[in-house]
Symmetry: C3
Amino acid sequence: MRSVNSWLVLASFAACCILVSSKSGYSKEKIIPLLDATDSLHHQDFDLRDHVSAAIASRWQLEVRTLHGGMQEGVQLLQVDNGRLRTSIVLNRGLSILGVEESLTGERVFGWDSPVKEIVNPMFIDLESRGGLGWLYGFNEWLVRCGLEFAGHPGTDLLRSNTGETKELDLTLHGRIGNIPASKVQVLIDEDKPSYLRIRGVIEERMFYGPQLRLTSDLILVAGKPSIQLEESIQNLSASPQEYQIIYHTNFGTPILQRGSKVVPAAKSVTPMNDHAARSVDRFDLYDAPTIGFTEEVYLVEPWVDEDGMTGAVLHNEAGNCGAMMTWSAETLPYLTIWKNTAGIEDGYVTGIEPGSGYPFNRRIERHFGRVPILQAKETRIFRLNYTYLDSSSSVKTAISRINKIQMDRPRELHHSPPELPKFE
Amino acid sequence: MRSVNSWLVLASFAACCILVSSKSGYSKEKIIPLLDATDSLHHQDFDLRDHVSAAIASRWQLEVRTLHGGMQEGVQLLQVDNGRLRTSIVLNRGLSILGVEESLTGERVFGWDSPVKEIVNPMFIDLESRGGLGWLYGFNEWLVRCGLEFAGHPGTDLLRSNTGETKELDLTLHGRIGNIPASKVQVLIDEDKPSYLRIRGVIEERMFYGPQLRLTSDLILVAGKPSIQLEESIQNLSASPQEYQIIYHTNFGTPILQRGSKVVPAAKSVTPMNDHAARSVDRFDLYDAPTIGFTEEVYLVEPWVDEDGMTGAVLHNEAGNCGAMMTWSAETLPYLTIWKNTAGIEDGYVTGIEPGSGYPFNRRIERHFGRVPILQAKETRIFRLNYTYLDSSSSVKTAISRINKIQMDRPRELHHSPPELPKFE
Amino acid sequence: MRSVNSWLVLASFAACCILVSSKSGYSKEKIIPLLDATDSLHHQDFDLRDHVSAAIASRWQLEVRTLHGGMQEGVQLLQVDNGRLRTSIVLNRGLSILGVEESLTGERVFGWDSPVKEIVNPMFIDLESRGGLGWLYGFNEWLVRCGLEFAGHPGTDLLRSNTGETKELDLTLHGRIGNIPASKVQVLIDEDKPSYLRIRGVIEERMFYGPQLRLTSDLILVAGKPSIQLEESIQNLSASPQEYQIIYHTNFGTPILQRGSKVVPAAKSVTPMNDHAARSVDRFDLYDAPTIGFTEEVYLVEPWVDEDGMTGAVLHNEAGNCGAMMTWSAETLPYLTIWKNTAGIEDGYVTGIEPGSGYPFNRRIERHFGRVPILQAKETRIFRLNYTYLDSSSSVKTAISRINKIQMDRPRELHHSPPELPKFE
């Protein structure tokens, strides 16, 4: 009964698990450096064919291009093609993934149409502008990480300053990590068994008298498979404990999002983020057609978790023959935010499926609810996510049954009013 | 009685009108791309001679140079010479026009001596700094556009946020457009009839949950003529209505500005912007010598308009043999601001003659007075301005008679106190 | 009784004095331009060997490298080696000196381990972020100047705006000068007598309706000597008087700083900056081992001055065989701040010995105490500092005796409470 497609979905999961668990075992992985601030290495333009055998180059295409014009001057875009999907990674924007296309057709698989058309170089971005909403001047990626010092809404938080006093700090929307250029990027490939490839990157969020957090990202692709795996870590490089926050702001537009699309999370509870969203909580999982003037609706999901600590969600179109499956380790990403923004096409018709260490409330509120984790000195935490493109009815069905297996017969509670938030003066 | 010079003035107007009206008719225009973010095209250095015939290259010189050092690192300057004037356009700074020189002598025609000597790359500019006055770190152009979301003084305005709430927004001085790099620049020339040349540029002021405004600028030069024509448009690319503001902040210093210089607008009324300016309103049209410690005086002019919807102003030196004529379509630029800043030479001895969609009050005040226009979804509005260098007594006289023809015998009202402004808490 | 080392110390002082006093006399100095915004000259990569004779190139090495990756994209680092010390100067970061190493061993002489590892390009820095603490995102230099419009702590000050009104201005930590790219850099060398070499640089802190201050820096090295001399000036280019502030924020970590290290200033008085520092004022001159969670202690020193107007301080390790001597002209740098930050190694184990025109309080407080100097129109003020590496017990002893000679038998007063600060509403 299982189609080839559904087999692929499962196979890619299996492959990923093997890869992750044996990460340190691949002694034959060749490391091809693309960028390294330590020794100031960089390639203005890079082509994998100059670095590997013709046999490998026939399976994998990988190029770095430097972009020009407007706000994208100097941006470096890494495009990697595994024969099934072409993934575009923005080196200067915290290794955000701009989008994913079908290798053959060039048609979009993952991504959306933001009104921000250029890939904005962070050197032009002032995160503090517009009352902390400057992040929105560059927002157009399929997957952008929010964090690491703070990941949610702008607003005031308190911190202990260098002089030992408590000071107010104005947080900015979704933090800095998405606007920090990568310090290191490498391609790792086993030349004897080039069935998979890793893009390893490092982004440093550091300052004096402030956080010293390092994100290390492994983006793993399997040749010919329609999926992407992320295995990432955040390390606190300081000698003192440090809070962190991370949200994987993953955004879908057409073709997956359309009138009648549906999101299927393994959900223990669903809570509207504010009164506006509360009015539509009963249909939180259904999407409307593009609606000019639509005001965003945000829902806070507590996921159910399976015996392996995994949870997930499926987003699929109305016909149920096109979609995305996301699964992730709930141990470090125990919360899910669903952001519905079915605005007019020109203004960004998009939904965000966003696993995170917490919800996108201001950090002060998140801390109040115990959702701001702490890393001890030198401590590292690991994050795992898998994204699979579903291109048939059967693969969508298989993916939904995977979610149902996590949900089991456990109930899904719908709250009809937003959480009561603490008041800070 | 008409000299060659005055003829040239009129001829250039005529030529411009022909060009404007037949814009789409020039099917033979060759388009030479200089810069295009869409396909990441750019020329580090460009010379027109590599792209056109020797015959054309003998009439037109056009070069792009990349600047280095200090705050101008990476700035691209386009210089175009029509055999009479050499015009310098800053590609990274919203296509502002740095200045205009005599082709033969290299002497300045339009421009001024700002204390800001370098052409500052916007990547170094923080518009929000100094309470929203960061724009002043880069201000040294002859013509810089203010806008497009807001164009006036810094201060608080209200906007509807993504969550549907009313939020405060701190506007920054003169808006963002002058600090956005151009996304597209082209040279258009008819190789069979290379008597005129266009520089076409596109600047995108976009963000998510914010305005999506596109400025398209045609700067048109006629071979051998001492004038510049701008034909520009602003389009609202959003699916929802959007306010806009635009002010053409055109600034003159020596040689036109000196002790005894005079501005002659076609003015229905002149109102001082504040109490300080009110004290000198009776001599609003006369300029003093450089005065150390001078405090700016700003006058708000309602122009008279002729049967073609045009209005204008002339600025000329004491002797009346050197000056500038500006005419513009009052349909979309119905207001004129005159900024007198006859400070010490080192601090910026300059006057701004500034046609606009409104005055440079904070947008909240402008909206109160009904001077903030709205573009419906996809709507476009067009702006037309002509600048002519007047290099003789006769050309100055001809230009003044043009203004007088607009003014006719209609009265000019001088208000002796500033407008009463609304109070917002 | 004097060792070779102590002779070197004195000799280098003597040499410096000669150089300074005869600055304009060296008509044979060859000027090799590295960078000049005026004519847009720059060298992407530069090597002195391409510009001087082999004989000179054997004594002096000088290279410019362009860095890549992370936040240091595009930063230009100038490294100059006089056969004894290798000094690294960051062209884009206000000619800050990143650090100084032994030529032979490559081991650090001056510098420290900041948690900020990359040399951050100012295009990524928003000084206004974090309530005016954005400067800390790039702080990792051995010597960074604070200033020039303001040099101290963030906070509100009042200024007279362009409209003549009094406005509030939010100052940012330590001012802008350390994040302004140099506008001009030259190497000056006398080819007939190449015993010394100058790096001359110009940084412009300018804006419209604001300060126009030019810093000109001569960094002077003597071949084979373990010392660095700075002869600098600030000029007010405006036609009106202008305040300025400058603090030479000179920072030492290992090897000089360790448990038991000591600072020996020629001190008339020592005052803690706040109550926290007051608790440890009795041992203000002694350093602890790295201490996780340490809160900075800052002490304000009034120096004693010798008959030549010079004052100084020595910092040395516990054994007294490794250290740094600083001397400077107290005429224009009459105040000394000692910043103790013996935090964990990972968080920045460092002390700042900081001669300045004042202390690092907010400018409003400094003005209240009469410590904000004013430059009249066109006026220039000169600043002189000498830094010598002490690599033996005898050189440390000689240096201390130099300080004692300044101190003479004059008393050193320890204040046990911080100064009473004015309250501003």
